[in-house]
């Protein structure tokens, strides 16, 4: 690829906006997941009684919280997928716009 073209594209304000938003979504969601996951050893180490709180039947808070990780994982996957599908559309529009304007060097 022509290096000037890639420079032009990655310095385009809309491209910068899209990549920044993408990073914010990816690293933000990762941060949430890591905090919620690492809460398990933190709670079992510092506040073990919290996970022993009885909810119903044979189920306590610790059991529910661990199962909740699967729900969190699923939700994160759905949010990420929806957001990135929108980014795909915006990226395609930008690329088409740039090609139409013929501002790229051959």
């Amino acid at each position: 690829m022509n290096k000037n073209n890639s420079e032009k594209i990655i310095n385009h304000p809309e491209f910068i906006k899209i990549t920044r938003e993408k990073k914010r979504v990816s690293f933000g969601l990762l941060g949430i997941v890591l905090v919620l996951f690492l809460a398990i050893p933190v709670v079992t180490g510092l506040m073990p009684e919290l996970f022993k709180i009885h909810l119903f039947g044979g189920v306590n808070l610790g059991f529910s919280y661990i199962l909740f990780q699967y729900v969190i994982g699923g939700l994160v996957a759905i949010v990420y997928s929806k957001k990135f599908s929108k980014f795909d559309v915006r990226s395609k529009m930008l690329m088409n716009e740039l090609i139409e304007k013929e501002s790229l060097e051959n």
Binding site: M1, N2, K3, N5, S6, E7, I9, I10, F15, I18, T19, K22, K23, S26, F27, L29, L30, V33, L34, F37, L38, I40, P41, V42, T44, G45, L46, P48, F51, K52, H54, F56, G57, G58, V59, N60, G62, F63, I66, L67, Q69, Y70, G73, G74, V76, A77, Y80, S81, F84, D88, S91, M95, I99, L104
Partner: protein
Amino acid sequence: MKYLYSWKKITTALSFILFSPMVFAEQATLIPDESKPLTISIFLLLFGLTVFISFYAGRKNKSVKDFYTAGGTLTPGKNGLAIAGDYLSAAAFLGVSGLIAIYGLDGMTYVVGFFISFIPILLLVAEPCRNLGKYTMGDILSYRNSFRVTKISTASSSILVSLFYMVPQIVGGAVIINALVGVQFEVSVVAVGFSMLLYVMFGGMHATTAIQVLKAVLLIGFCFLMVVLSWIPFGFNIGEFFASVLRSPEIQNHVLYKLLSGSSDIDTLEAGRKFMEPGLFLKNPVEQASLGLALILGTAAMPHILMRFFTVPTAESARKSALYAMAAIGFCHLLIIVIGFSAAINVGPGAILSVDKGGNLAAPMLAQYLGGGADSFFGNLMLAFIASVAFATIVAVVAGLTLAAASSLAHDIYVGGIKRGNVTEKQQGNAARIATIAIAAVAIVAGIAAKGQNVAHLVGLGYAVAASANFPALIMTLYWKRCSTAGVVAAVIGGTLLSIMMVLISPNMTYPLQVKNAAHKNMISLEEEILILENKGDKQDLIKIEEDFALAKQVYDSIPEDATSIIGLTKPLISLRNPGIITIPVGFALVIIFSLLIPSSFSRSMWPELVFRRETGHQNL
């Protein structure tokens, strides 16, 4: 065709040798002797099916790209299931269900990390890797870093990670098959090694994918059947199922007398509740966090997982693949959790521990129970089927690892590092096949050499190296503008060496003097028991205790006073078993420090192109 026909003959002959009565050790196994023909028939049926699939799928191999990545033509659904088949190991299925059956909630804590580890893959790795990579992680890292040095260092680390992960899979699998059907350890190792070699060498990624999809479907389907059978007596009332865990006298006694060693004054109902609370297995939160971090970040840099994202045509397909994989893995985990608790309720932790101290046979024992018990046809049919699924599970995981390690060896080290890319398509194909044979040979030899050794910590080491060496190098290459070749190489080499060193000085290693002292303590307590039994005149128990004493004395006498660990230590220097919490930050620090100290104009000049391609997947514009 002649070529295929001769191979079919060889495989048929070898399969008969591998499954002939000569290969069975004379020992008590979970599968009774009268049911072994049934088990062997199902084994052979499944083996035959996988060989057929392998040859059928292998016909699609026309190029090196086909061999490594199935030509990049897989659908997201197929690739997602193959990722699940690649990732759901025997450790996840048999080991975790056993952990839950023995330790309750702590087993669940362990398995959930394996699911969460797919989040970084989805968020940070899947799409950029698809857009930038060709066959290996070395391709991605060398995109903006010095080609040769990056390829060689990354490939070396990837091969190590694959072998660290592969050897315990083979050894663990051989031990389980030995306990189930009595096939000799060495024969099991060779059978797994031979099968993976066959699938990978002649079928490449097409066959490996087909085997992994088949295995994922079989595993999830069988787990689903076991959960349905487990819930029928409870009328599918899930609350009642878990309430019965608390009420089970078997579980209550196991917690009171085995896990708490009778030291607690709690009542039986409280003991049942404890089984659903944390702290019976994972007692050190720092260790738990360290293992969790290595699992979550290491999976995103596991070569066999990364490689799967090169098999789909677009970044969108890679994203969908990760989503399908997460759905399949998450569903299977939930089934495994129920299977673990069902084994505790129906088989009992005591009975499971009496057969295998690691609890790995909890799921097979439950399958036998749900089918009608040890004396029933359906009980043994279920057991035979689960043994075959376990074998398929091991082979599918190991085949993926072999392909990943072989691609690093052939594509990165030989083609990239030695030949600098100047090779023909034919030479690349030959290199890939020779590398596959070499990796399989190393894995088989290492597997046999590891007989009787504790190799379980190698899995943790594999994850630690991937998380501390490969992951920082990959993430910083992808997302940090100032990252340079020096930073990447420093992280890969430094992270690998530090992880290995920390495991070598950790309690994971065997310290002969500690073993000697433990044997001495055991001898003293056994001596006291012998005196008591002699006074009682209990001859039967006395014989058993005297045998145990002789065994302990043999261990004590066999270890010299100056014996040390493999690196000359008499005791561990650190208490941490999982080094991730230290080595992962060090890995990132190495990339940053060395990139700032030794910047690279090439790495910097390639940044715009990398960002463009990472985001769009376009090579030309």
